[in-house]
């Protein structure tokens, strides 16, 4: 039925509001019969894409944040985008993953720790902005997943990063 609502051109924003209402009542859903619960789960999946559409503006903010060598201090230029993501996560709570990375210099396990420290720096900033820590999973890939290839300053700068996913 909700699918037909979407087809009938209900505004994405309104739909998003409707769904947020639904998902904030999980206990009620569990009390209903299994059939209905299944239906609501399916609807939820359709709704997710609708929410994405409605938050296109937020998604345009940078999702990659860069760091200096052997440092995990947030750079001033990351601030605006992080504030935007934090606001979006507060108004529209969802699970996100912060993936921390390092450049290839230095040792691999130390870089794992460094990647985690960077991702934690981003997490702490967002939590200070009011985002629930439970929504954020931190994972470090160290230097194992380079974004840019090559052994030079430009590539290294692009690889010292945290990606919000």
């Amino acid at each position: 039925m909700k699918v037909s609502f979407i087809k009938s051109g209900l505004s994405a924003l309104l739909l998003a509001a409707l769904l947020t209402g639904c998902s904030s009542n999980p206990v009620e859903e569990q009390q209903t019969s299994t059939d209905i619960e299944d239906t609501s789960v399916q609807t939820g999946q359709v709704d997710t894409s609708a929410i994405d559409e409605s938050t296109v503006e937020t998604v345009t903010a940078d999702t990659v944040f860069y760091f200096d060598f052997d440092k995990a201090l947030l750079k001033p230029e990351s601030r605006a985008a992080l504030l935007e993501h934090a606001a979006s996560l507060q108004s529209n709570p969802r699970n996100v993953r912060l993936e921390g990375h390092a450049d290839e210099r230095g040792t691999r396990e130390y870089n794992m720790a460094l990647g985690e420290r960077r991702a934690n720096a981003v997490k702490e900033f967002m939590v200070l902005q009011g985002v629930s820590p439970g929504l954020i999973e931190v994972i470090s890939y160290g230097e194992e997943r380079a974004a840019a290839y090559g052994s030079n300053d430009d590539a290294w700068a692009l690889n010292r990063r945290v990606e919000l996913k």
Binding site: T48, D70, R94, N95, V96, R97, E104, R105, G106, T107, R108, E109, Y110, M112, A113, L114, E116, R117, N120, E137, V138, I139, S140, Y141, G142, E144, R145, Y149, G150, S151
Partner: protein, 436 residues
């Protein structure tokens, strides 16, 4: 929703293949090139082993020659220059070998001794002294000809240098190949000369930090196949494996205790990276470090009572020593602003580590008694040092162009060789203990 996608990536992670027994036939991926040898190598002639009609796929004498050359301590005499191919000590005309400048000569022969078993008897002769210094027999099946060759090399090396040979040992290492931005990670084990590479684990997700058990029968490593890093142990013979950790955050840097009963590792479940001990029998974890800094890369001292590890608690990564019983820590390195990934030589005194000098990362050795630091390598992105069980050489990962390769250097920096790979980035070598 994230939970779901993590689950589906777990399913993808189950593409992980356990292909221990899959040996690449014939050719190895790693081909040795000696780039620098000893200034005064010992000249040795390895006469071709008389095969006695036995058809073997491997040229035992050529493998022995390559082993000895790779050590950097020997110069071998070319087969085409030899005036005769003696197969036993009594056949040797010393004058022939003196003319060639040989200090030593190896002569040997093979014979079939039982169903499927073959024996090589070989002698090592001192040319100027005109005497046999060693005669020895080794035996095995036709498929073990490389093992026999390395065993012969071990005996010759030990007889001449007084140092136990490590040619019969193995290497574990990780390779990464990228095709269309998709990575394939492989954990491999090969002979110390790079031959007979065998796949231990293959995954689309990163594999890291292979570590040998003290008996050389198992590897511990970090695999991201569940979508997160986790430590596994895997038996190399049975391919049986077990996931040892599943905590949120880092699960890394496994290191087996000398007695094989415990494992030192890194977990960040309590907020930041700390060193833990895992009792492999009881599966109990105990925390050893308590500091807001990064503590990682633990490695055991031979006494089983101390660990060395990397910490940036002093502001930059440096090597620390930890007393397991008292948990007291002591900073060991002060020279330079980046010293990490300690790897101890079997003498318990010489420490190899990654050392930054201006903007390059070298392998350096550090004498725990005198505090003297020596840079061993000259390339700029060197990491993951691992010392051979006889302490003669160490292997490390470096770059050739944009490609990761393994290289080796002697602990006195006099000998070097590179093992270029035919495909992908090779990294994180781990030298096995003695296997026999």
């Amino acid at each position: 929703m994230i939970g779901k996608s993590a689950k589906s990536s777990m399913v993808n992670g189950l593409l992980v293949l356990l292909l221990l027994a899959l040996a690449s036939p014939g050719y190895s991926e790693l081909v040795i090139r000696v780039t620098k040898g000893n200034d005064q190598p010992t000249k040795i002639a390895v006469a071709p082993i008389a095969m006695g009609g036995v058809q073997a796929k491997e040229d035992i004498s050529a493998i022995v020659e390559a082993d000895l050359r790779r050590s950097g301590l020997f110069e071998t005499i070319e087969r085409r220059d030899m005036l005769a191919f003696p197969s036993r000590a009594t056949d040797v005309y010393y004058r022939d070998w003196r003319l060639l400048g040989a200090e030593y000569l190896v002569a040997g022969n093979m014979q079939r001794i039982a169903d499927g078993r073959y024996q090589v008897e070989f002698s090592l002769l001192n040319v100027s002294g005109q005497k046999t210094v060693l005669t020895h027999k080794v035996s095995g099946t036709l498929s073990q000809m490389r093992d026999l060759a390395h065993l012969i090399s071990d005996k010759i090396y030990e007889e001449i240098t007084g140092i136990r040979g490590a040619f019969s040992t193995r290497l574990a290492y990780v390779t990464a190949t990228r095709i269309n931005d998709k990575y394939t990670y492989r954990l491999n084990v090969a002979d110390a000369d790079g031959a007979r590479e065998k796949l231990v684990l293959e995954s689309r997700e990163p594999i890291m930090s292979p570590a040998w058990s003290g008996d050389g029968k198992e590897l511990a490593y970090v695999s991201f196949e569940t979508g997160r890093p986790a430590i596994f142990r895997q038996n190399l013979v049975s391919a049986q494996r077990q996931q040892l950790t599943n905590f949120s955050g880092l699960n890394g840097a496994p290191s087996w205790s000398p007695d094989g009963k415990q494992m030192a590792l890194v977990l960040s479940k309590d907020g930041n990276p700390e060193i833990y001990l895992l009792d492999l029998q009881s599966k109990q974890f105990s925390r050893l470090t308590r500091h807001f800094a990064i503590d990682t890369e633990p490695t055991w001292m031979p006494d089983g009572k101390h660990l060395l590890f990397t910490s940036d608690r002093g502001g930059t990564p440096q090597i620390y020593k930890l007393n397991i019983a008292t948990k007291a820590t002591e900073r060991l390195t002060f020279s330079g602003n980046y010293n990490a990934r300690p790897s101890l030589a079997p003498d318990g005194r010489t420490l190899a580590m990654v050392h930054r000098q201006s903007d390059t990362f070298h392998i350096a050795s550090f004498d725990l008694k005198t505090g003297r630091m020596i840079e061993l390598t000259e390339t700029r992105l060197d990491e993951s040092p691992t010392v051979a069980p006889n302490g003669a050489m160490l292997m490390y990962a470096t770059k050739q162009g944009d490609r990761g390769v393994l290289a080796a250097v002697s602990l006195d920096a006099g000998v070097r060789y590179v093992l270029p790979s035919s495909s992908g980035d090779v990294r994180e070598p781990a030298w096995s203990p003695f296997l026999r």
